[in-house]
């Protein structure tokens, strides 16, 4: 426990110091925080509950549009803002920007949670591949629908409010970094707390044998929906931050970007080891570093390199990095290996 505390404090200090130690990497670090949040929350379904969802991108995109719309709509007519021929220039004052962002983020978290509850109620009865395919459709549909809604810019895209002139040139990067780091900490603390409760055991029971869990009197549907709602809450927050960070929202390429973000969050959780607390975090970090590296050193071939990485992961680390470590050093994970007993078993064979 003491060791744990040192670790957490260490990471917290690292997190707070990071933008000052590596000032040029603020944007990458903010994106890393968002990626970790997405991977960690995907892991609630994909890892702990055994429901491989490709639909979490829906909540992410929804959060992005909602946050930006609220931020603009609170102070200016939204339709005029997004209309491309609009000759008027609207400028947020710093107070308006931050107030809008705060309210926007709250909406961006709450609405997707409700949506997750409603959608979950109707589709969480599906299992296995059927659920995965159904959720795959959610993101695609949302992208196409939002691309037709004029008030949020439709195919034109939505330019989010520019960061106001406060402080120095670095303040924008620092603001978004600390915001995303705060959400990351919030996510981690929440998920960690959840994983110590009976709720996690129920999710695991659903994963291991849903029928049996039901037979034991667990209302599996209720827990599945709650699990998904928790994910949606944080995905929405992550989306809201990402929208402000990118500065421009496009329906299929930025918001409901199922092809990239939607797949990456799955990949990161699997790379790190699904069904563990630290797996998605390590997975997202390793993935992000590899990805940024590939982009710099394999220009034009980055997706080929990424493809090779995925193949290597599947072949050599089918259980993810955490799974591999656990197999290699079981005693470090608190598993007691009785050498005598192990040998005896080997000899028996």
């Amino acid at each position: 426990m003491k060791n744990n505390l040192i670790l957490y404090i260490g990471i917290l200090i690292f997190g707070i110091a990071a933008p000052f130690v590596f000032p040029a990497f603020k944007v990458q670090l903010s994106i890393l925080c968002v990626l970790i949040v997405l991977a960690t929350t995907w892991n609630i379904q994909g890892g702990e509950m055994g429901y491989n969802s490709f639909g979490n991108i829906l909540f992410y995109g929804l959060g992005m549009y909602l946050c930006a719309s609220v931020q603009v709509g609170m102070f200016f007519p939204l339709a005029e803002w997004t209309e491309s021929g609009g000759e008027k220039t609207f400028v947020h004052t710093p107070a308006q920007f931050f107030q809008g962002m705060a309210v926007g983020l709250i909406v961006a978290a709450v609405v997707p949670t409700i949506v997750a509850g409603l959608i979950g109620y109707s589709i969480l009865g599906l299992r296995g591949h059927y659920f995965a395919i159904c959720t795959l459709g959610l993101g695609v549909a949302a992208g196409e629908i939002s691309g037709g809604i004029e008030i949020i810019g439709a195919g034109q895209g939505f330019t989010t409010p520019p960061f106001p002139d406060v402080g120095s040139l670095d303040s924008r990067g620092e603001f978004f970094y600390f915001l995303s780091f705060f959400v990351l900490v919030l996510t981690f603390v929440t998920v960690r707390a959840i994983y110590t409760t009976r709720f996690k055991l129920i999710l695991n029971a659903i994963r291991d044998n849903e029928d049996k869990a039901e037979a034991m009197g667990i209302e599996t549907m209720k827990y599945k929906i709650i699990g998904w709602m928790i994910s949606a809450f944080f995905c929405g927050l992550a989306g809201g931050i990402m929208g402000g960070l990118v500065g421009y929202i496009d329906s299929t390429d930025v918001a409901f970007d199922g092809r990239e973000m939607g797949v990456f969050m799955v990949l990161m959780a699997i790379l790190g080891g699904k069904g563990t607390l630290w797996g998605p975090i390590i997975g997202a970090t390793v993935f992000h570093i590899f990805k940024e590296g590939f982009w710099t050193f394999f220009l034009g071939w980055q997706y080929v390199a990424l493809g090779v990485l995925i193949v290597v992961i599947v072949i050599y680390f089918p259980e993810g990095i955490m799974g591999w470590l656990r197999e290699k050093y079981p005693e470090r994970f608190g598993e007691v290996v009785d050498e005598k007993d192990r040998k005896a078993q080997v000899e028996l064979k």
């Binding site: 060791n3 744990n4 130690v21 220039t89 330019t159 496009d250 390429d253 470090r332």
Partner: protein, 412 residues
């Protein structure tokens, strides 16, 4: 918990990795002016991304070999750092941030497409990095009050409104019926707004107004409607893929329409890929080789066309020409500013008033080029099936007469 040790060592490895990977360039190193550009080398805009890159490279080589840029009595050469934005706005914004804060770039060239330019402009604006862009035509780019954005091209709403005017003129000044099909992206939607304005202005009527998905491969549903409604004009815009898809399906389905107006015909190499099937298509273009503009570096359009074809093995679409022009603008501005101070260069850019082989360049306060009209060309083929793009409007540059209405498929 031994696990913590693993994680701790992991975190420290990360720290070491980050701190060793900071490699910084400066804007001007030795005798080099380093420009940054995020280009779509992969993804849906990859073909136009390559046209853009070829255009930039061609101009860099030409300017460097003809004496470079003279600032403060010293001669400098251009160099460009490229990244691949994968045709994705999110990525483009990140790369702009990266070029500026990590690579130390102080002057930028634009990406391909309006959407990506929209994503990059807030970043360059924030850092006060002057950006000359050649491929972001969306009108909304120029109404945001950006001070550091300069576009050498005419805005997107001017692309096809001339076509509607032409159709009305051919209809003895009476309004026409217009069918429209536009891709769901920033550029095409802006072209749509321009066409809508023209429809209103001329008292025409829109009969079909379809939105087409990105990565356009099929527009049969729209064409079925066109066959039924028989509009006077069919307007299609969806980048290169839109142009290719439209011609392919119109010829397959034998859709008869008196006027077909499109964008991106030359970038799609329509006349080469579809030959006679693309005949009579009317295309909006920022530039055509037969225009009579001149400059010292590329001489004129015909010479540029020949030189480009020699170097890259295909005729330059206007996307390449305007990209080359962006470098000429930068060179001119650096020399007039006689400094590498970003503000001074920005002011020099704003005061640009020059002629290049691509056209006259003069920026409005919003950053768009107001001194260069669009041209319309029509694909025309001879009996042997050899097709060429000939300028038909405006009359000042027309090298051929508009063929109207398009003969029906049964008579071709």
């Amino acid at each position: 918990m031994r696990l913590n040790k693993i994680i701790l060592s992991f975190v420290s490895a990360l720290v070491i990795l980050f701190s060793t990977s900071v490699a910084s360039f400066a804007k001007v190193v030795g005798d080099k002016i380093i420009l940054g550009a995020a280009i779509s080398l992969t993804g849906k805009y990859s073909s136009n991304g390559v046209h853009t890159q070829n255009g930039y490279n061609m101009a860099v080589d030409r300017i460097n070999s003809m004496g470079g840029v003279k600032v403060g009595g010293k001669t400098y050469k251009f160099d460009i750092i490229y990244y691949d934005d994968e045709s994705n706005p999110k990525r483009a914004a990140q790369l702009a941030e990266r070029l500026i804060s990590q690579d130390g770039v102080e002057f930028m060239l634009g990406p391909y497409s309006s959407g990506l330019t929209k994503a990059i402009a807030p970043v360059t604006e924030k850092y006060g990095v002057p950006m000359v862009e050649a491929n972001g035509a969306s009108r909304s780019l120029f109404t945001k009050g950006y001070k550091y954005l300069f576009a050498v091209l005419a805005p997107a709403n001017l692309y096809l409104d001339v076509a509607i005017d032409l159709a009305v003129e051919k209809n003895n000044g009476k309004g026409v019926t217009v069918a429209m099909a536009f891709e769901q992206d920033a550029f095409s939607q802006d072209v749509r707004l321009g066409v809508l304005d023209a429809i209103k202005r001329t008292g025409s009527k829109k009969v079909i107004d379809d939105k087409l998905p990105k990565e356009l491969n099929d527009m049969a549903a729209t064409l079925v409607k066109v066959k039924q409604m028989k509009p006077d004009v069919l307007v299609v815009s969806g980048h290169t893929k839109g142009a290719l898809t439209a011609i392919r399906q119109i010829s397959e389905m034998k859709v008869d329409v008196p006027m077909l107006a499109m964008t991106h015909c030359d970038a799609a190499k329509l006349s080469k890929q579809h030959g006679k099937n693309s005949q009579y298509a009317l295309c909006a273009s920022q530039w055509h080789k037969t225009l009579t503009y001149k400059d010292d570096f590329f001489k004129d359009g015909m010479t540029y066309d020949a030189d480009f074809t020699k170097e890259f093995g295909y005729a330059p679409p206007y996307q390449a020409a305007e990209s080359s022009a962006a470098l000429l603008v930068f060179k001119d501005a650096f020399e007039r500013a006689n400094s590498f101070d970003q503000k001074k260069v920005r002011d020099a850019l704003a005061a640009t008033n020059m002629q290049t082989f691509y056209g006259n360049i003069k920026f409005a306060p919003g950053g768009q080029n107001v001194d260069k009209p669009m041209v319309l060309f029509q694909v025309m083929c001879d009996d042997a099936g050899k097709c060429e793009n000939k300028v038909v409007a405006p009359t000042k540059w027309a090298s051929a007469k508009l063929i109207h209405p398009i003969p029906s498929w049964s008579k071709r």
